[in-house]
């Protein structure tokens, strides 16, 4: 596989830079070296089957001052068996003479000792504060001592990732990291996660419809040192198929490190502007000598909860006295059995007549099922003198909460390491990740089942369980037995089971990951690292729609593939030395990266034969093919050179300087280069001054960086492409145009941060604080142009966005004893991003409104906060006088009018939370451990499209009338009891317009006159409406003869569509993300079976959710479509809680 990609890649390069090309040559060296490695190095050389007799070891553990330490964990390396010291610091344990014992205690540096022929051990533990030599992985995969870092990084270890058996690594990070906002696309356990590091600083875009969640705001992901790009996910027809991150097996992850600020990520140059998420996978190194096996199984049930309540009293129709069986609105007659009507009996498949009775069924609840997620994971690892390896396999089966949906993931991962000599080490990793969904359902958007069940499924229809026969008898495969039928035999509303079983989205993703790395210690001061890797993702997708749906009588078949190859190679030479009090570490290196993407999709818009899903079955003239929009711009390549140096003084002051120069562009006209510098300073004050003993560590940090964010030079083009369908015998073309500012500059972000780390009380309290500013400069977008220019827009630098905020991490260990241990950690994140500069060309008037989800807009103006959402249709109001501020109704029908003045647009919401508080606590008692993770998102609002449709379709009780809860812009009701008013007699108004309007709607059947609250200009007034005086206005509703009435279906629908403010809600919520109780069996019970660390856990995820608004919607799923428009919530799945068990054991 690795060889394959190289042969492939090398064919296609130009000889233009032999120096940088040699990077690739070195990569080949690594590959060849790997082939030449004598593989027997991995095999075991000694007589492992022979077992020595256990010996008993006793001893005492003391601290630096000679005081005995109680509760120190004494463990056999590579096994989980162990004991703790007693109150006098004594211990006793039986082990093999070949074993190593490790002694660890919170706040102290762990010590490992070989037993050999000793029987008594006296151990002294030194507190961590005096060493503080923990290392962490930083940019380019370089390990650095934490204390020398002048910037904030967040690290989550493997243990915390797998406690709750979350199938997605990213989902398990929420609540555990400060400075990062993780937003789930939906409550589905397999859904994608959007990650914003220190706030989204992407400007709302005119060209892509608002502040969408695009890769423009997503961080760079790096797996084992190989950058794999800013991952979003693959959306198809409203279905989220995840990305390569959702494919990773959490059990394979050793740690996730998030480089938040620019200084941390500056070495990633043009890609690091949104932060970097570095994922390190587990290796066999550091474990016990010899072979080990680890096995984990978890089984969880996924259960939906929090269903939106709908009214069960009124059925199909537009008015309370008139039944309309083909209608999906429920403004009609009561469903208490008092009203008989013709209806389609779905179960019996015939027309019937009878009393209309509510099914009293919560449709969404009745439709959804309890899903399940079962994960098996097996790993084999070996650690030897010359090398180590770890091989793992996993299988995850998810049965969705939506019926007939499944996802299967399999992963295979191999990490190996071999020491060719004592100074030369080679590591090779290979991974294969496979995802297959035979069907995943659309859970958002107008064609989803959830959408239909919520808005278009009147309560008088039969229960869903009566609708399972979704084909008309005798017409199986071609004609649908709809939930509502028209009298002409056509379908008025799809049967949900038809959509479930005959409208399928099938998906496969195969991901090949490979990496080879060479580490060479060249003498005392120099070391060389050479590394190359690739990620090759292939996706295939099918949409299968049978004959018979309401909107698509002859079905559809879509087949598409995407392929994405990404390779990256680095060579880094490092020099390390100490000069008296000074230490220096300096590196220079280079990188070559290459990507090749392609996509192809073929659509058969109609099928000739029902349910035969292949392209050849396309009805004549309905087959069309689209290839990737960017063809042939599907290759990118870049060369980079970088250097970094850390200068240390007296182990207390560290200065970091980095610089990277990127050379991008595959074609001559794309070539561009740019330089990205950074500097940071770390000062360990607790080393410089003699601080009170309470301080274990006090460190100050300061960092500045200028990093890139996309670097591609584009040029103006007018290109022609053939239209998918010919005009008879003639092909036709369309012109595609793109105009680029010739003076365009690359986007980059300048970040500054300032922070303090304080460890106190022997590290029982660890506190860190960081203040940051991130200035995303020269953002790129299209300035709209009038078509008279020949172009729709000009791509240019439109402006800057600055995000400011702070993040706090706090870890406290209030209890630490032999049997008890209690840790609490909290992360706090607050940021605010505002637009700080706009190009004059972009907003000549100082501001501009961009379309958001079609029903709302975003304002682009200096000072505007990112996340603000504005009304689409500002209501026209009276500008002055007595009625100032009241809606001005039109003079023909008394309806609300839309103001043409942008200044009237009101802000509705801001989707960003005021702050995010993550809480995480672990309580251990002997062999028990309780772990809780919660997250509170305070503030922010969302706009419920659900509520909009629920109200305009009459589905909720708020639509009954003003005698119930209602919105303030409307007076009236469905009948007199509910607030409806009597209709005035024909011709009772002195104004013709009012008579005309009311006469068209009047009924003698019921008092359902309702009206919009506002004023209108006297119909006899002839002057300029702008000059109308107080006496020219008439208040609607004040005089019943001179009121524009509407019946509720008309006026309420109008109100709810016009006033987005009536469906804007507080997004504040608290979620109990994880609860787990783990019990580890004492090793003495199971060691005879050669097992250790047998742990059984009870797990719950998202078991509880509190929404301040009281609504049964998940504000965090507030996206209109897959991945677009945060803050707009539509027909998403209800919340889902997962609970189950997990069992883990090592051999």
């Amino acid at each position: 596989m690795i060889k394959f990609f190289y042969s492939h890649q090398f064919l296609n390069e130009k000889k233009d830079n032999c120096f940088l090309l040699s990077l690739r040559c070195i990569s080949i060296l690594i590959m060849i070296a790997f082939i030449y490695i004598p593989l027997q190095g991995f095999s075991y050389n000694g007589p492992r089957h022979y077992r020595f007799k256990d010996v008993r070891i006793t001893g005492t553990v003391k601290d630096e001052k000679g005081n005995p330490l109680a509760g120190v964990s004494v463990a056999v390396v590579g096994q989980a068996s162990g004991v703790s010291t007693d109150n006098s610091g004594n211990f006793s344990i039986s082990v093999q003479p070949s074993a190593e014992l490790s002694f660890s205690y919170v706040g102290y540096k762990a010590v490992t000792v070989k037993v050999g022929d000793q029987t008594h051990l006296d151990i002294t533990l030194t507190s961590e504060a005096s060493t503080l030599n923990e290392v962490t992985v930083t940019a380019l995969g370089l390990s650095r001592k934490k204390k020398s870092l002048g910037y904030s990084v967040s690290e989550v270890s493997s243990e915390d990732l797998v406690k709750a058996s979350n199938p997605s690594v990213l989902k398990s990070l929420d609540g555990k990291v400060s400075g990062v906002n993780f937003t789930n696309l939906s409550s589905d356990p397999t859904s994608s996660v959007m990650v914003n590091v220190r706030g989204s600083t992407a400007l709302p875009s005119l060209s892509s419809g608002g502040a969408d969640v695009s890769s423009r705001s997503q961080p760079l992901y790096v797996i084992d040192g190989i950058p794999v790009g800013a991952q979003t996910f693959t959306p198809k027809d409203g279905v989220d198929f995840g990305n390569i991150l959702s494919q990773l097996n959490p059990e394979d992850i050793a740690s996730v490190t998030i480089l938040k600020g620019g200084s941390a990520g500056a070495l990633y140059g043009a890609q690091g502007g949104n932060g970097v998420v570095m994922i390190t996978t587990k290796s066999g190194r550091g474990g016990q000598k010899g072979l080990g096996v680890s096995y984990n199984i978890s089984a969880l049930a996924d259960q939906p909860y929090q269903f939106i309540e709908e009214q069960m009293q009124y059925g199909q129709g537009e008015r309370i006295y008139e039944w309309q069986y083909d209608n999906t609105d429920t403004w009609g007659p009561p469903t208490d059995g008092s009203f008989s009507a013709d209806y389609w009996d779905v179960k019996a498949q015939k027309w019937a007549n009878g009393p209309q009775i509510s099914s009293n069924e919560d449709r969404v609840k009745a439709y959804l099922q309890t899903g399940s997620t079962i994960t098996n994971s097996l790993s084999v690892f070996g650690n030897y003198d010359r090398g180590s390896f770890r091989f793992s396999m996993s299988n995850m089966d998810n049965k969705g909460v939506m019926p007939n949906t499944k996802t299967n993931q399999k992963t295979f991962n191999l990490n190996t390491e071999y020491k060719i000599t004592n100074s030369l080490k080679i590591s090779v990793s290979a991974g294969y990740f496979h995802t297959y969904s035979p069907n995943k359902q659309n859970s958002v958007g107008s064609n989803s089942v959830l959408n239909s069940l919520l808005y278009n499924f009147p309560n008088n229809l039969q229960p869903l369980s009566d609708m399972h026969d979704y084909w008309l008898m005798g017409f199986e495969g071609s004609l649908q037995n709809g939930s509502i039928m028209n009298t002409d035999g056509s379908v008025a509303n799809d049967n949900p089971w038809f959509t479930t079983y005959e409208y399928l989205h099938r998906f496969t993703r195969d991901n090949f990951f490979g990496k080879v790395q060479l580490d060479w210690q060249m003498g005392k001061n120099f070391s060389l690292l050479a590394r190359t890797g690739m990620d090759n993702v292939k996706e295939s997708y099918e949409l299968r729609k049978s004959w018979g749906s309401r909107s698509d009588k002859y079905g559809q078949f879509v087949q598409g593939t995407n392929s994405n190859l990404l390779t990256s190679s680095d060579v880094i030479l490092t020099y390390n030395n100490n000069f008296n009090k000074f230490s220096l570490s300096a590196s220079v290196g280079g990188n070559y990266s290459y990507t090749n993407t392609s996509s192809l999709e073929a659509t058969a818009d109609d099928l000739s034969t029902p349910a035969l899903f292949n392209l050849a079955n396309a009805a004549p003239g309905t087959l069309s093919i689209t290839s990737g929009a960017n063809t042939p711009y599907n290759i990118t390549q870049g060369y980079s050179a970088y250097a970094l140096a850390t200068l240390g003084y007296n182990n207390q002051l560290f200065l970091d300087v980095t610089g990277r120069k990127d050379f991008n562009g595959a074609y001559p006209e794309q070539k561009i280069q740019y330089f990205y510098p950074s500097a940071s300073l770390s000062w360990i004050a607790s080393e410089t001054f003699q601080l009170p003993e309470i301080f274990t560590l006090l460190k100050g940090r300061l960092a500045w960086a200028d990093v890139g964010n996309g670097l591609l030079k584009q040029r103006s083009v007018d290109t022609y492409s053939f239209e998918a369908n010919d005009w008879g015998a003639a092909k036709t073309v369309v012109l595609n145009t793109a105009l680029v500012d010739p003076d365009i500059k690359p986007m980059h972000s300048v970040t500054k941060e300032l922070g303090v780390d304080a460890w106190m009380l022997k590290s029982r309290i660890k506190f860190d604080f960081t203040y940051f500013e991130k200035d995303q400069k020269n953002q790129l977008d299209n300035i709209p142009l009038v078509p008279g220019t020949g172009y729709t827009g000009l791509l240019t630098n439109i402006g800057d966005v600055t995000s400011k905020g702070y993040e706090i991490g706090l870890t406290v260990t209030p209890v630490r004893s032999r049997d008890w241990n209690w840790d609490i950690s909290a992360s706090f994140t607050q940021y605010k991003a505002t637009i700080t500069r706009l190009s004059d060309k972009f907003a000549p008037n100082g501001y501009i409104f961009a379309n958001y989800d079609g029903k709302t807009t975003v304002k682009i103006a200096v000072g505007e906060e990112i996340g603000n959402i504005y009304e689409q249709n500002p209501i026209l109001r009276v500008k002055s006088g007595k009625y100032k501020g009241m809606p001005l109704l039109d003079g023909e029908g008394g309806e609300f009018q839309v103001s043409p003045d942008n200044a009237d647009r009101q802000q509705l919401a801001n989707f960003n939370p005021d702050f995010i508080l993550g809480l995480n606590t672990t309580l251990r008692y002997k062999h028990f451990a309780l772990n809780l993770v919660g997250s509170l998102r305070k503030g922010g609002q969302y706009i419920s499209v659900n509520q909009q449709y629920l109200e305009s379709n009459g589905r909720v009780a708020t639509t009954f009338g003003t005698k119930g809860t209602n919105n303030p812009y409307w007076e009236g009701g469905r009948n007199a009891e509910l607030g409806g008013l009597p209709w005035p007699a024909a011709g009772s108004s002195q104004y013709e317009a009012i008579n005309n309007n009311n006469d068209g709607q009047r009924t003698d059947e019921v008092d359902d006159a309702s009206y919009a609250k506002g004023v209108f200009i006297n119909p006899n007034y002839t002057g300029d409406p702008a000059n109308a005086k107080d006496e020219d206005y008439i208040v609607n509703g004040a005089d019943k003869n001179n009121t524009f009435y509407q019946y509720p279906y008309n006026s309420y629908g109008d109100v709810i569509w016009d006033f987005a403010s009536t469906r804007t809600y507080d997004a504040t919520n608290f979620k109990m993300k994880e609860i787990s109780i783990a019990y580890t069996l004492p090793d003495k019970l199971i060691s005879r079976y050669k097992m250790n660390n047998l742990t059984l856990s009870l797990i719950g995820r998202n078991v509880f959710q509190w929404n301040k608004s009281g609504r049964h919607e998940d504000p965090e799923s507030a996206f209109t479509g897959v991945g677009t428009n945060q803050g707009i919530l539509r027909a998403t799945l209800p919340s889902i809680r997962s609970y189950g068990i997990k069992l883990g054991v090592n051999f």
């Binding site: 060296l29 009038v786 068209g1000």
Partner: protein
């Protein structure tokens, strides 16, 4: 281990040298593709320009009911604002649709220049004039000389005065005629969707279009008549349309919505839009009054016509129209003893009883209760209006030999010449041009010569002696001839105020709009040019009633 390292480095060296090869297949390949998509041959450009322009005009002519409503070919019986010019109130983006095609044409002209394909350049120039004239005729001052020049740095193109645009367009048409005549390259018969590669036909289009523009501006251009005469009198240098099949229009393919007639089953799946578009009473009455054989080609008989004869109640009549489509009509008695029915049998609602072909009253709000309504709403729903004719099943087809996406037809030129002759602008017989026009139009709709002769022989068809009477009759026939070429009908109606249908039906309270308002984006993104453009109007207000230069 040293020897191992040496081995490794030896391999590296060899591979390095080998991999520094000059094989750059992939990137070269891509660059070649890139070049290819920035260039495309004349034939593809021709088919694309023709197709896009024809569909643009057909959208204006039928799909957007604004213009067919304003000229009273069609009324809506549901959401009927277009029946009384409502859509003219808003800023309209149609000039942007024209600009999008003009951008394609502009690119095509650039490419033909490079290749020296002058015939194609001439054809593209003719289309360029057509679309720029659409823009100025509908809006007034618009961009012309600075249009399409963003690559040269003009991001905010200024508007030219309409007078200057006209001068430019007429000049461009002269050039187009010359280029087509002098060009030597062949036109692909397959890709010339209109004239199958016959370049003289394209010359005819350029010159006929020039006559159309000259007549449109005849009260502003003093020598318009002389210019028209010069063209007509020199058929070898400036040929014009002379035959019934000299039409710039294309046939539909009818396999997909996008290549089908807009009223057909592919475009309008359930037919609800088709049902909402009803022939206007003005049109039906005119066709009926003149015994016009096009009536049955265009209009379907009413499904449930009113009868005042009790004996006819419930009697079913079957009709087959000239294209073989069949209809069933069942007479319904006007029964004033039925109280439900009686309340609807008011003079407003009960029109055109005892007739099979009935139109929707002009200017009537689109609502079931009005003009010729069915009284039984439960049976009819909001747009099940069974007392008004629909268009014939011809207009429900995806494609049909008689259904064309029309840009300009030969009969229009005959009527222009008839008008010019009647006004004395040119010599020649108004009557001949007039009768040619009628004949060409009827032939276009498949009417037999015998029926045409019968029609022409009617006294009601003959031109009277007085000029006003002549012009009125010519205008009636031109209006019928331009059926569903609504974009041109509207401009003609605006210019001549003939036929005088402005107060028909319920329209007397509504002022006939004179132009389209500029698109809102002009105000947003090109405000200086916009403001300058408004000063060219009289009064200087961007609304639908201000007069542009042509009308001042």
């Amino acid at each position: 281990m040293k020897s191992f390292s040496i081995k490794v480095f030896a391999i590296v060296l060899i591979v390095s040298v080998a991999s520094c090869s000059k094989d750059a297949l992939r990137t070269d390949d891509s660059l070649q593709q890139l070049d290819a998509v920035e260039d495309v041959n004349d034939a593809y450009l021709l088919s694309s320009v023709i197709k896009q322009t024809a569909l643009f005009y057909q959208k204006l002519g039928y799909q957007d009911s604004r213009l067919p409503g304003a000229v009273q070919y069609m009324e809506r019986n549901y959401q009927g604002g277009d029946n009384y010019y409502s859509a003219f109130k808003q800023p309209l983006d149609d000039m942007y649709a024209a600009m999008n095609i003009l951008k394609l044409i502009d690119g095509a002209i650039g490419l033909t220049d490079k290749r020296g394909s002058m015939v194609h350049k001439g054809i593209f120039t003719t289309f360029r004039v057509l679309l720029f004239s659409f823009m100025t005729d509908y809006y007034g001052d618009v961009y012309y000389s600075e249009a399409l020049k963003a690559r040269e740095g003009i991001l905010y193109p200024k508007y030219d005065k309409q007078a200057d645009i006209y001068t430019g367009l007429l000049k461009e048409l002269d050039d187009a005629n010359t280029m087509i005549a002098n060009g030597t390259e062949a036109i692909s018969p397959t890709y010339d969707l209109v004239f199958k590669g016959n370049k003289v036909q394209w010359q005819k289009f350029a010159n006929s279009l020039k006559i159309r523009l000259l007549m449109r501006a005849s009260n502003k251009i003093q020598d318009a008549g002389a210019q028209i005469e010069a063209i007509v009198n020199n058929p070898s240098a400036t040929p014009v349309f002379t035959a019934a099949d000299d039409n710039v229009s294309i046939s539909y393919i009818g396999t997909l919505a996008e290549n089908s007639w807009l009223g057909g089953t592919l475009s309008d799946n359930g037919g609800s839009e088709f049902d909402r578009r009803r022939p206007c009473k003005t049109l039906v009455d005119k066709l009926t009054a003149l015994n016009d054989p096009r009536l049955k080609v265009w209009i379907a008989p009413v499904e449930n016509p009113w009868t005042s004869d009790p004996a006819m109640n419930g009697v079913t009549v079957n009709t087959t129209d000239p294209n073989g489509f069949t209809y069933t009509s069942t007479w319904e008695l006007i029964d004033r003893s039925n109280p439900d029915m009686a309340q609807y049998l008011t003079p407003d609602i009960l029109l055109d009883s005892n007739k099979l072909y009935v139109g929707f009253v002009a200017g009537m709000p689109g609502d079931w209760k009005n003009g010729n309504a069915h009284w039984n709403t439960a049976a009819g729903g909001a747009y099940g209006n069974f007392k008004v004719s629909k268009f014939s099943q011809l207009f429900r087809q995806n494609s049909h030999p008689l259904l064309k996406a029309m840009i300009m037809n030969s009969d229009e030129l005959q009527f222009i010449l008839a008008e010019a002759a009647a006004k004395g602008m040119i010599t020649g017989s108004a009557d001949t041009y007039y009768r040619n026009g009628i004949r060409f139009s009827m032939q276009r709709w498949g009417i037999s010569d015998a029926d045409i002769n019968t029609y022409l022989a009617q006294p009601a068809i003959a031109l009277p002696a007085d000029q006003a009477g002549k012009l009125a009759k010519i205008a009636d026939q031109k209006w019928l001839g331009l059926f569903f070429v609504s974009a041109e009908t509207y401009l003609d109606l605006r210019r001549t105020r003939l036929p005088n249908i402005f107060n028909n039906g319920y329209l007397s309270g509504y002022e006939f709009p004179l132009r389209f308002r500029y698109p809102a984006n002009e105000l947003g993104q090109n405000v200086d040019a916009y403001n300058e453009g408004v000063t060219g109007l009289s009064p200087q207000v961007d609304d639908q009633y201000s007069k542009m230069w042509l009308l001042q």
